[in-house]
């Protein structure tokens, strides 16, 4: 009996010590956000969305992204399928939370650029399982929206990582984001998220995302594959990045309505 108690207390002590040795949540977040993402990037992106019956839609795009200080501009040109070829989507994201992002879509069949209403942060991005907020953050995390704590350690695809649990600061933020809790598995060495689990505002499992095929491109750790599964709808999204280029400077001209109309 005494022995058992002794062993148990030793175990507990060692666990406590282990947890105490882990970096705290804010530290992990700071490390994540300190990563180099490149000032601008050009890349191909294939999006494959599959519904719960296994029917899928595949869209191939070429896109550019560039930081303007804390603000960011993104443009995506659709290459296929044929019926949406040359459709183009432009976003100007503003760091100021009070300012609505600007979005435009070019519809080649109408030959018109149309402004579309600012999306909510929790809205789904172009029919995928990622929200506008997920897309906007890319590999970063939002400091403002969450309280964070380190839950322990885990491993994804053989890479040891820290378990970072983030909970929205208040109910309103949770509603906006569409998440009640997020748990990320953050690679200990390169400070990139390898897996993220999301819960909805009712506390039910919402979706799980895996970030894979992470390798260095021009000195920058880059994810090439994102797999997301929505547990409520059974809907899945696969993002495949290729031809990633951080070095060729992306011209400002790509991020204009004229560029949308002109196409690639």
């Amino acid at each position: 009996m005494t022995k058992t108690v002794l062993i148990l207390s030793m175990l507990l002590t060692s666990l406590g010590t282990a947890a105490a040795n882990l970096p705290d949540g804010d530290e992990i977040a700071r490390r994540i956000n300190a990563r180099d993402e490149g000032l601008s990037v050009a890349r191909d992106l294939t999006m494959r969305m599959t519904d719960r019956r296994g029917k899928s839609r595949t869209r191939e795009t070429r896109g550019f992204r560039k930081y303007y200080g804390e603000d960011k501009r993104t443009v995506i040109f659709y290459l296929s399928p044929k019926n949406v070829k040359d459709t183009a989507f432009l976003t100007w994201d503003y760091a100021d939370p009070e300012r609505d992002d600007d979005q435009w879509l070019y519809l080649p069949a109408m030959r018109k650029v149309r402004r579309i209403s600012a999306s909510d942060r929790g809205d789904y991005f172009l029919g995928t399982d990622l929200t506008y907020e997920d897309i906007k953050l890319e590999t970063r995390v939002s400091i403002r929206d969450y309280h964070r704590k380190t839950k322990g350690e885990d491993e994804v695809d053989g890479h040891p990582c820290y378990l970072l649990e983030s909970t929205p600061v208040d109910a309103k933020t949770a509603r906006e984001l569409g998440y009640g809790k997020v748990e990320q598995c953050v690679d200990k060495e390169i400070w990139m998220t390898r897996r993220a689990r999301f819960w909805d505002t009712k506390g039910k499992p919402l979706k799980t995302a895996y970030f894979r095929d992470i390798r260095k491109v021009q000195g920058i750790w880059t994810q090439h594959r994102i797999e997301v599964e929505n547990h409520k709808t059974g809907h899945k999204t696969l993002f495949l990045f290729s031809h990633v280029d951080y070095q060729t400077l992306v011209s400002d001209k790509w991020f204009t309505r004229d560029a949308l109309r002109r196409g690639l």
Binding site: R53, K55, N83, L107, R115, I116, S117, F125, G127, K202
Partner: protein
């Protein structure tokens, strides 16, 4: 028959054997009841109207396909109504909608993404530079200006006017898809509780309706009903038993048979996983009635024997009774089984098929207990004569006032035999006329009394909105993305335009309506741009554009993921079969002639289509089941009496019964519906007993050469006639109890079966003696060379 001869019969020896081990027989009987009853707690209730269709019914398969592909179910519909001058577009009412939507999303049995209300839906609107897809509000309107803006936006979105908001603005709906109809009852209760505690002011009202709610309501309704009705039926039947025999055993032992019958029938139902359907409620009084019927005859004979042979031992009296009664009660058991076999064979709908099957099991159990446990128990009891049967001199007995009343009735029948036959002919003719004018119809909401909240909710919603009875049109094209083709979209648009011209159709929605709204929004919101885009690529691009703001699942109620399948949901404001029939048949004709073509195909589906098919089925199979039940009963009676004519005469009273009841229904405007369609088979099964008992006794009485024909016939009345009277009273009152049910269809069922039983009783006791007297059929022992007797001349008072 001498005492010795009687004791050497096989019947005597059999019953002598059964009564040798009374305690064993009773113990076995009890054990069987307990074994069967132990399954009853596992019984599953099934109030879905889908339960009426066989699982392989094409209409159901398509309905399930629509459910699987588009997630559309029979929803619960919560209506928020404000009859004030601004309608629902006041800050408070819109906040109420917002509150309700959020609270409903918290409930367990629903998918929060499958709630449709002003608080969940996106508005698609246009402005000079583009299209805006956004919820009608982020935070529910706080000021009158904001509420007015919502009104403007909603009223400018044709798709939602009528379906989501009342064109008058007086109401708006929250449509809640029910993922599992089994949860309907609890979900409905939860919604009512929510409506109850919702913060309402002024003229705000909240109503809950829809097919999902009807199922849910019916479940709790039936529970409450059964708990009240079944004890009442047992009490009434016990009272009739007491009046008939005025002894404790005359009340308790038949109730023991009732317990066995109900336990066997319902217990086996549970054991085999058969569900308890809405109409299974009607089975309980049938079982109770069947179970006591044999007892009436056995006890009548028992007390008769006791009055005649007061010096016999209990065992001798019991065996004497059984020797006389086993034959008629076995015959009635077989004919009743034949009637329910007819129902079983002819029905395609599972609830009715099982009704027939478990009624047969009940009848057989009642017979088994009546010829084993009942005599065993009576053997154990001390002899105690009934006050209704007093011994008289010379081995005879004096009957009570009921017996004397029946004798008087018998004399009248014998005197007026010709008149009886004439009346029967007239009733038969009226019955045929009525039968030809029966109206096949049904309406689920009619199940409930008019003052029930669900009926009010239904009528208010159907008045304010397009309607909540849904017909789905499932559209299939051959290749993915074929629905981008403007030619296909135009076809769907034309189909919708046609269907909307049909009576009781309030409106329809499909992806076409969304595309038109998008087209208009992208053309600066100009009203004339509310039209389909002309270019296949543009359609594809509209969907992509929409996905920039909407959810990936937003159009899943309208199109499948690869744009090959689409659904058109048509709203009807009536759930009445005759109205649904007109719409379904017209829509089908249009689809066949104008819609279907190479590469595109439409199939009707949804609640309205399913209802149409099964009620139609009901009409088609009804006559078959009546015919087969009659045929089976005739066959069985023919075998029992070993005479074709005998079999024919046996079914005459039940045919007359069925015709008369149909006539009453036709003349009083009662529909041939779920509840009333089964009465015929039940009436045949139950009613034929009166005829079998009458003929069996007549056969015996007429063999007595010492009495005149009329005296023999009159002798039927104080004995068998008296037993039948109580049998009839127990049945009629037992079914009469159903007439006090809160479920309108059960009321109808109860009244009609009570009427049918009454008609069978009177027809058997008047028509059969009259036929015997006038036509002197050979199977009753008449010799053919005898001169027919002049009507009414032989009787001496």
């Amino acid at each position: 028959m001498t005492q010795e001869a009687l004791k050497s019969t096989r019947a005597w020896r059999s019953f002598w054997f059964i009564t040798a081990y009374p305690k064993t027989v009773i113990t076995l009987g009890l054990a069987l009841i307990i074994a069967c009853a132990s399954f009853i707690p596992t019984l599953i209730k099934d109030t879905r109207s889908d339960a009426f269709l066989p699982e392989d019914e094409p209409a159901l398969l398509y309905r399930d396909k629509v459910k699987e592909t588009f997630g559309l179910t029979d929803p619960m519909v919560v209506a928020v109504v404000n009859e004030g001058s601004r309608g629902v577009f006041t800050p408070h009412t819109l906040n109420l909608v917002d509150w309700l939507t959020k609270e409903i999303a918290k409930l367990d049995d629903i998918d929060p993404d499958r709630i449709t209300s002003l608080a969940t839906e996106n508005n698609i609107s246009g402005y000079d530079q583009g299209m805006r897809v956004a919820p009608f509000w982020e935070d529910a309107p706080a000021t009158r200006e904001e509420a007015d803006k919502v009104r403007q936006a909603v009223m400018d979105f044709p798709l939602y006017v009528g379906s989501l908001v009342a064109p008058s603005g007086k109401g708006t709906l929250i449509v809640v898809e029910v993922p599992d109809q089994e949860q309907a009852q609890s979900l409905y209760q939860q919604l009512l509780a929510l409506a109850e505690r919702a913060p309402r002011v002024g003229e705000e009202e909240i109503h809950v309706a829809g097919e999902g709610a009807v199922s849910g309501y019916l479940g709790s309704y039936i529970d409450a009903d059964a708990q009240r009705l079944n004890p009442l039926a047992a009490l009434i039947i016990s009272t009739v038993l007491f009046i008939a025999f005025r002894t404790l055993r005359g009340v308790m032992l038949p109730n023991f048979v009732v317990a066995a019958t109900v336990a066997a029938s319902i217990g086996l139902m549970a054991a085999f996983g058969v569900r308890f359907y809405v109409i299974t409620n009607g089975l309980l009084p049938v079982l109770i009635g069947i179970a006591v019927a044999d007892s009436f005859h056995i006890f009548s004979q028992y007390y008769e024997e006791l009055a005649r042979h007061p010096d016999n031992s209990p065992r001798e009296i019991v065996v004497r009774t059984m020797v006389h009664m086993w034959r008629p009660i076995t015959m009635t058991t077989l004919t009743t089984i034949a009637g329910f076999l007819g129902l079983y064979l002819a029905s395609v709908m599972p609830p009715m098929k099982y009704f027939g099957l478990f009624a047969m099991i009940g009848v057989a159990t009642a017979w088994l207990y009546s010829v084993t446990v009942l005599p065993a128990w009576l053997t154990l009891l001390h002899l105690r004569p009934s006050p209704a049967y007093r011994p008289a001199t010379g081995g005879a007995y004096r009957t009570d006032a009921f017996g004397r009343m029946m004798t008087a009735f018998g004399r009248m029948v014998v005197r007026r035999a010709g008149w009886v036959l004439g009346m029967a002919t007239l009733i038969g003719i009226a019955g045929i006329y009525g039968t030809l004018h029966l109206e096949l119809n049904e309406s689920r909401i009619r199940t409930f009394q008019k003052d029930e909240p669900i009926v009010r909710a239904d009528s208010i919603i159907n008045r304010l909105f397009d309607g909540v009875q849904y017909l789905d049109i499932f559209i299939e094209t051959s290749q993915p993305e074929d629905l981008f083709d403007p030619a296909n979209l135009k076809r769907i648009e034309a189909l919708q335009a046609y269907v909307e011209t049909l009576p009781h159709v309030g409106g329809s929605t499909s992806v076409v309506d969304y595309l038109k709204q998008m087209n208009r929004s992208l053309n600066e919101g100009r009203p004339e741009a509310y039209a389909l885009p002309q270019d296949k690529d543009l359609v594809a691009q509209y969907f992509l554009l929409y996905s920039a703001s909407g959810d990936p699942e937003d159009f899943q109620k309208e199109v499948d993921y690869d744009y090959r399948l689409a659904n058109v949901r048509v709203s009807l404001d009536s759930g009445k079969y005759s109205d649904e029939k007109a719409v379904v048949e017209a829509a089908q004709q249009y689809i066949d002639q104008s819609f279907n073509g190479p590469g595109i195909h439409a199939t009707l589906s949804g609640r309205v289509d399913v209802d149409y098919h099964w009620i139609k089925r009901l009409g088609e199979t009804n006559w078959g089941s009546v015919g087969i039940a009659l045929l089976m009963v005739w066959l069985m009676a023919t075998l029992a009496f070993r005479s074709l004519v005998g079999g024919l005469i046996t079914v005459v009273p039940v045919i007359l019964t069925v015709l008369l009841v149909y006539a009453v229904m036709a003349f009083s405007g009662i529909w041939l519906s779920i509840s009333t369609s089964m009465f015929a088979a039940i009436a045949i099964g139950l009613g034929v007993d009166f005829a079998v008992h009458t003929i069996e006794r007549l056969e015996i009485l007429l063999r007595d050469e010492q009495r005149s024909l009329d005296e023999s016939i009159v002798a039927l009345f104080p004995t068998t006639g008296r037993a039948l009277l109580f049998n009839f009273l127990a049945l009629a009152l037992g079914f009469g109890v159903l007439a006090t049910s809160k479920v309108v269809v059960l009321q109808e069922f109860g009244r009609i079966v009570a009427l049918a039983v009454s008609v069978s009783f009177f027809a058997s006791l008047t028509l059969l003696p009259a036929i015997a007297k006038v036509f002197r059929p050979g199977f009753l022992g008449f010799r053919n060379n005898e001169q027919p007797l002049a009507l009414g001349t032989e009787l001496q008072d």
